[in-house]
């Protein structure tokens, strides 16, 4: 199973949302990281076949997904960043409707709906009307509908927004279990979502792919570039001016600062293992600084 993204671009009038994006995805979980406005959602929409690229092609196993049409959407599961429901439907009915849209037969749909409801922890609330659901429950319902047709290609746009930590862990575990023979691409701002499950991370900035690599390799670049130091309150402004600050933690003994710097910032600074947040800041913090 291979999803090939060949030089796709998307232009809205004068705005180039995605610019010559190229990537190859095989089975496993891929994390798509990027700041707001990087073009992640636009990219995912093109992969979900709900937006047409201005140029370029997306292929699944060598076939253009546009020519595949229904056959591609048959193996696709998609969770948009923002979506709605029919508030007067119950959760179960909503999933049955989506199952019908995905071409599942009635009996098979009923079984599958029950399965996904249990998977996302909505078994007890399945027969309540969706208008009574909390934000997290709604999000879980969205995840459930994406899994209904046992998709081979799963596109998830910020799937854990609104989920509490327990639900996020459950979701991560579901993804890990599923990733063996599926292509899963998820875009998120919550780095812990992909830190433990992602095979590869795709870094996206201003519509372009910055890097695609294993997380371990990307983090290796930051070896001895992440430092931890405890300073006085009065030294903090100077540090902020000179270095990229990842984290500030006030303790009794002083202010513990996590700094991103290729050189040792202070004599008392100690090197620490780089994490995904450090990576994010390393690549995308320039925009904030500007």
């Amino acid at each position: 199973m291979e999803l090939t993204i060949q030089n796709i671009s998307k232009q809205f009038k004068e705005l180039v949302a995605v610019n010559q994006f190229t990537a190859e995805l095989s089975c496993g979980v891929y994390g798509l990281l990027g700041p707001n406005g990087a073009g992640k959602t636009t990219l995912l929409r093109m992969l979900a076949d709900i937006l047409r690229p201005t140029s370029g092609m997306i292929q699944l196993n060598g076939q253009d997904i546009r020519s595949m049409g229904e056959r591609y959407r048959d193996v696709l599961g998609y969770l948009p960043q923002q979506f709605g429901y029919y508030r007067q439907f119950t959760g179960r009915r909503f999933l049955m409707y989506i199952a019908a849209l995905k071409g599942l037969e009635k009996r098979a749909a009923a079984t599958k709906v029950e399965e996904v409801l249990q998977l996302v922890g909505l078994g007890y609330e399945a027969d309540s009307k969706i208008k009574s659901y909390s934000g997290g429950m709604g999000q879980r319902l969205g995840i459930a509908q994406a899994l209904l047709n046992d998709p081979k290609v799963l596109i998830l746009d910020e799937p854990t927004a609104g989920l509490d930590p327990t639900e996020r862990i459950r979701f991560r575990n579901i993804l890990s279990e599923m990733s063996a023979n599926r292509i899963i691409l998820l875009s998120t701002h919550i780095v812990s979502d992909i830190e433990y499950v992602a095979k590869d991370v795709l870094l996206m900035k201003q519509g372009c792919l910055l890097k695609q690599d294993r997380l371990v390799s990307l983090l290796k670049e930051l070896k001895e570039s992440v430092w931890k130091v405890t300073v006085d309150e009065s030294q903090l402004p100077i540090l902020k001016q000179r270095y990229k600050i990842v984290n500030i933690l006030r303790r009794d003994s002083g202010v513990e600062v996590r700094i991103l710097s290729p050189d040792k910032p202070l004599l008392t600074a100690q090197p620490v293992t780089a994490g995904l947040e450090d990576l994010y800041l390393h690549y995308f913090n320039e925009e904030i600084m500007q």
Partner: protein, 293 residues
């Protein structure tokens, strides 16, 4: 008293004395520590000066409390109109265009049609109000209500000010239409025409506001407009029904109008005093009763 008991007593007494000395010692220590936190009262002259400066900000409490209440009401009404005036620019293009189109079409048909110009004014009179209701409940519909409730100008005040504006705007538009038709045509009475459109306007306005408070505004507007279209189609093809309705006894019309005005005011009051919104899933939070009135 036996010696042992005496001795015991003495021992106790001695113990007590020691305790007292100890406590006295701690008291003085404590006092020394607390002295550090002592707040000295300011001089009396300083207090008086401060009172004099603050006096200008203290509202005038008249001898007549009723007068005070009336002043407060008046000030608040003026404030409401000020909010309304400031908010005009926030009304959507759809509202202004609808008003313009309805007015234009109303004038065109009213001028070109030979018979029954009143029907045009009757049919069009409630529509600007019904479309304006979308502006009144914009915050609720688009999920901004929660933020508005936390602002200085509260959501209730905002909704009420918009409601006042669309009522006034509708009345002005309809009056202008009647005026124009009266000027262009020689066969109608201005006051007769005004009275003719006022009844359906106030009935539709009050009932649509009643409905909009209870269900989603877009849906309630659709229900109102579709029903009004049905009524319009029926009346157009049954002129006998229309004539009979237009020539109802004046007392009945006054009663109906009064009832509708009362319903409109009451719904406006309800809008002001209590408004619910969905904050989290099925939990429905009621906004605090407004202390506006």
């Amino acid at each position: 008293m036996s010696k042992s008991r005496e001795n015991k007593g003495k021992a106790v007494w001695a113990d007590d004395m020691n305790d007292v000395k100890e406590s006295e010692y701690f008291d003085s220590e404590l006092e020394a520590i607390l002295q550090h936190y002592r707040v000295e009262l300011p001089e009396e002259q300083r207090i008086n000066t401060t009172i004099d400066v603050l006096r200008q900000y203290v509202p005038d409490i008249s001898e007549n409390p009723r007068e005070v209440t009336m002043m407060r009401y008046w000030r608040r009404w003026i404030n409401l109109w000020k909010i309304s005036a400031a908010d005009i620019g926030m009304f959507s293009k759809l509202y202004w265009m609808s008003c313009l189109v309805l007015f234009g079409v109303g004038v065109w048909i009213g001028v070109t049609v030979q018979q029954m110009p009143a029907i045009v004014v009757i049919l069009f009179s409630p529509l600007p109000f019904v479309i304006g209701l979308l502006e009144v409940f914009k915050g609720r519909e688009q999920g901004v209500l929660e933020m508005e409730l936390a602002c200085k100008v509260s959501a209730q005040e905002l909704m009420l000010s918009r409601l006042l504006f669309i009522v006034m705007n509708s009345l002005i538009l309809n009056t202008c239409l009647s005026g124009l038709l009266y000027l262009v045509r020689g066969d109608i009475s201005f006051w007769g025409l005004t009275w003719t459109w006022f009844t359906p306007f106030i009935i539709v306005a009050s009932s649509s506001l009643w409905l909009a408070i209870r269900i989603r505004c877009t849906v309630s507007s659709m229900v109102t407009i579709s029903m009004w279209m049905a009524v319009g189609m029926i009346l157009l093809t049954r002129p006998d029904m229309l004539t009979r309705m237009m020539h109802l006894h004046i007392l009945i019309t006054i009663l109906i109008n009064a009832g509708a005005v009362y319903l409109l005011i009451r719904q406006g009051w309800k809008l002001l005093r209590n408004h619910t919104f969905i904050a989290e899933g099925s939990l429905s939070y009621g906004a605090n009763d407004s202390e506006y009135f």
